[in-house]
Amino acid sequence: MDYDNEMTLSFRAVSANESFARVSVAAFALQLDPAVSEITEIKTAVSEAVTNSIIHAYDNSSGIVHIWCGCLQNRLYIEITDNGKGIENVNEAMEPLYTSKPEQERSGLGFTIMESFMDKMEVYSEVGKGTKVVMEKNIGQCVSNG
């Protein structure tokens, strides 16, 4: 696809980079003139995907998270990729409240929140190779700017 604009970002899979990732994607999305609520939704979805990579894919050990963003007209495209351990059963992982780490008080709502806040969300994963989360959102659908 021939996008109007694109950007890529790669960073260490450490929790201090969660806010960096969501703020960077939100800054890229600003060119589409989103409402405040849309910015919050994008930040939340990105935070969930990046946190999953850090906690689950890399198990809090070393690794790199890659983000690609594109925009075409009023649609924002986001891909968040890791080269971690992968998800054995994606359908199970996407079940609301499912978590493989209940002892860490994880809520099991990451994918549910991504799905709720974005217009499209797909997960591609291969055990031992990694996971890619693909999200899309139409910007400018909110009536108010609050």
Partner: protein
């Protein structure tokens, strides 16, 4: 992000300022649990008026404290939520077990 505590009636009021994500949540959980262990109160009220971002890590934190207060015969509630935080509470279904109040005073009066 910062956390401060105060006691109102039988409640430990936990006021959080900033963004609640996985990076900060462990530190917050530890400080609340330390307070709860050294405190006689049964209930926890989260004052979230100064929280401008929260993802599912915050939901995990609230559920964890809910379980602790239930063990002590108390309850956990939240006050002063932004529209975005309310939406996350709705999506998570957390509103079914944790009451949402407009102010800390209102929450403390009920508890």
């Amino acid at each position: 992000m910062s956390v401060s505590f105060r006691n109102v009636n039988d409640c430990l009021v936990v006021e959080i300022e900033g963004e609640i994500d996985h990076h900060f949540v462990d530190e917050v959980k530890k400080s609340i649990d330390t307070r709860l262990m050294s405190n006689d109160v049964r209930n926890v009220v989260f004052d979230l008026k100064k929280v401008d971002f929260m993802d599912s890590a915050g939901i995990g934190m609230i559920i964890g404290r809910y379980k602790q207060t239930v063990k002590r015969g108390g309850v956990t509630s939240v006050a002063c939520l932004s529209d975005n935080l309310k939406r996350i509470m709705m999506i998570s279904g957390l509103y079914r077990i944790i009451k949402i109040y407009n102010s800390v005073e209102e929450a403390a009066k009920v508890l």
